[in-house]
């Protein structure tokens, strides 16, 4: 149902697709990498209840990227700085969910305003301006891919090291602390990794739509599984399919990449929700029941 190319084919021109594909090699690599790290970190975004904070970080990342463009430092570099500053601020000032939400809400419009200011002053190509908010497909050159890959490797290694204690601390901080897990330190490490991932996402899907990569795939995976192995694997698959699929679909059109990405990831989420709901209706819980006690009434 996702590759209903009959409909898309009428709207977009898919001739010369092979040649376009070669041109977009960098974007596809970057998209696959983003799907991978976004899917993984999304699991923690969900279990730490930080979806809103992700949105806030992405707006500050946009501000950083705009400033980077204006000052000639570089979009990726600026966006990394913006992300990390936002991630650390939110991490330091918002230990609890409510504080975090309010500090995010305070930072987010400020970041957006700052970004708009920088773009307004910037006199260069206007395609870049729009791209930072809603995603860009052609603008990824070799050095940029190098940056993105390097960041992805850092995030992957970092997550690999802290995966288990971070899971413990995210699920049950009190008990984790009692067991000597460095809850605060892990929180800072996580915010840094999250900031880096957001910076990568902003390059590809744009600041406004980062959530579709960092939250939707993991949220979809959590609808159909609770296994700590299956959830990240599914989340990564969903993320990669969304981003790479979105890039491939966007090839034929002049529309930004983001609507394709967000639509695919949203569709996956809907399907997963339906599967989860159907399972719940049929009473599939994984619970072993003693046979004689099992009656229709017990499954309500």
């Amino acid at each position: 149902m996702l590759h209903d190319s009959g409909v898309w084919g009428q709207i977009f021109d898919f001739s010369d697709y092979g040649q376009l594909l070669v041109l977009l090699r960098n974007s596809i690599i970057a998209g696959a990498v983003l799907g991978l790290i976004g899917g993984l970190i999304g699991v923690f975004v969900m279990s730490r209840d930080m979806a809103f904070a992700v949105h806030g970080i992405s707006e500050l990342s946009f501000a950083g990227a705009s400033a980077g463009l204006l000052l000639g430092i570089g979009v990726v570099q600026g966006s990394i700085v913006g992300s990390l500053v936002a991630a650390l601020l939110i991490g330091a000032l918002g230990a609890r969910a409510r504080e975090r939400n309010s500090i995010t809400a305070v930072l987010m419009p400020f970041g957006l305003g700052l970004g708009i200011l920088c773009l307004a002053i910037y006199s260069g190509r206007s395609a870049n301006k729009f791209g930072l908010l809603t995603g860009q497909i052609v603008a990824i050159d070799d050095p940029q891919v190098g940056w993105l890959l390097a960041i992805a490797v850092i995030v992957l290694i970092g997550l690999g090291i802290v995966w288990r204690p971070l899971t413990f601390a995210s699920i049950d901080a009190d008990v984790a602390a009692a067991r000597g897990v460095p809850v605060r330190g892990l929180s800072i490490v996580f915010m840094l990794l999250l900031g880096l991932t957001v910076a990568v996402s902003v390059q590809i899907v744009g600041a406004l739509l980062v959530l579709s990569i960092l939250v939707t795939p993991a949220a979809a995976a959590l609808r159909v599984s609770a296994s700590p192995l299956v959830v990240p694997v599914l989340s990564v698959v969903f993320g990669v399919v969304s981003v790479v699929g979105g890039i491939l679909l966007a090839l034929g059109g002049s529309v930004p990449i983001s609507p394709y990405v967000t639509t695919i990831s949203f569709a996956i989420y809907i399907v997963c929700r339906a599967i989860g709901a159907a399972r719940a209706r049929r009473g599939i819980s994984g619970r072993r029941m003693p046979e004689p006690a099992l009656s229709a009434g017990a499954l309500s």
């Binding site: 279990s47 995966w163 288990r164 204690p165 413990f168 609770a226 990240p232």
Partner: protein, 289 residues
């Protein structure tokens, strides 16, 4: 376990005092918890029950005095201590099944992501020990409060503790589950010989299994068998104002404790620290314990 180890207290407090600014939570606290002993920690909100556990967990230093766990000074993250928190329902979207929650007790504190080979068998044993085998593969968020607390006991048993600290583990469970969870802890402390410090605002569910009671009030304390401590004259003296202990149908009800209303807020702000039982609506009644 050698004889010497078997006789050594699993927890030793000597002149232990905890102060936050000018407020003294308790002072001169001497307590030896023997292996296999079950001690209920009682007292109104803000009397320092949770702070006592945090001190033993190495999260708060004592203002003065000494605290030894199995003969060693307290350290943060001591694997010889098991910890069971207040029941709080796991959110929908928690990426864990029952077996994974228990598994965190085995390797949740170690870095990395790939589990060891022996882990699965150990988790299976722990699940069986707490009677959770039937729902081993079920997402934690779909389990009842009682089932989740069983898993938390299993998680706490994973490191083979000598001392189990439980902070209101029965709060917000129904009576059947209160009994089931306290019987589970009771059975394992007898089988495995670990001592238990059991913080609770209601002693009744654990009354049949309690060896001794530690009652904290107004910076002072009483330790002894429930019948020695939970008496009108003892608590009246402890609180310095009239308190009645009523026994009815095998239950104990304490009426007239004066400090339940204002104390928790003092502690909260002075210490900048959270007492998990602060928000329990049952504690706002005059009839607690």
């Amino acid at each position: 376990m050698t004889d010497a180890q078997a006789r050594q207290p699993v927890l030793s407090l000597r002149g232990a005092t905890l102060r936050f600014d000018r407020r003294t939570l308790w002072q001169g606290l001497d307590l030896d918890v023997a292996p296999g002993e079950f001690i209920a920690v009682l007292g109104a909100n803000g009397s320092g029950k949770t702070s006592l556990l945090r001190t033993i967990l190495g999260q708060h230093p004592l203002s003065s005095g000494e605290a030894l766990v199995a003969g060693e000074p307290v350290t943060a993250g001591n694997p010889r201590i098991g910890y069971v928190p207040q029941q709080k329902l796991a959110d929908e979207g928690t990426p864990l099944r029952a077996r994974d929650l228990v598994g965190l007790g085995i390797d949740g504190g170690t870095f990395g992501f790939w589990p060891s080979r022996s882990k699965r068998a150990r988790v299976d044993r722990l699940l069986a020990d707490v009677g959770a085998t039937d729902y081993a593969e079920v997402p934690v968020s779909t389990l009842s409060g009682g089932e989740q607390q069983r898993l938390r006991v299993g998680q706490a048993l994973a490191s083979d503790p000598v001392l189990l600290l439980a902070d209101e583990p029965l709060a917000s469970l129904d009576l059947t589950n209160q009994r089931a969870v306290s019987e589970l802890i009771d059975r394992h402390r007898r089988e495995r010989g670990f001592g238990v410090l059991f913080v609770t605002h209601d002693v009744n569910p654990v009354l049949p299994i309690v060896d001794r009671v530690l009652y904290l009030a107004g910076g002072r304390f009483r330790i002894g068998a429930p019948d020695e401590v939970l008496r009108s004259e003892v608590l009246t003296e402890l609180y310095g104002s009239p308190v009645d202990v009523i026994r009815a149908r095998g239950r104990i009800i304490v009426v007239g404790t004066p400090d339940a209303g204002h104390a928790p807020h003092d502690e909260h702000h002075d210490a900048g620290h959270e007492d998990v039982c602060d928000h329990n609506p049952e504690d706002t009644e005059a009839v607690v314990l």
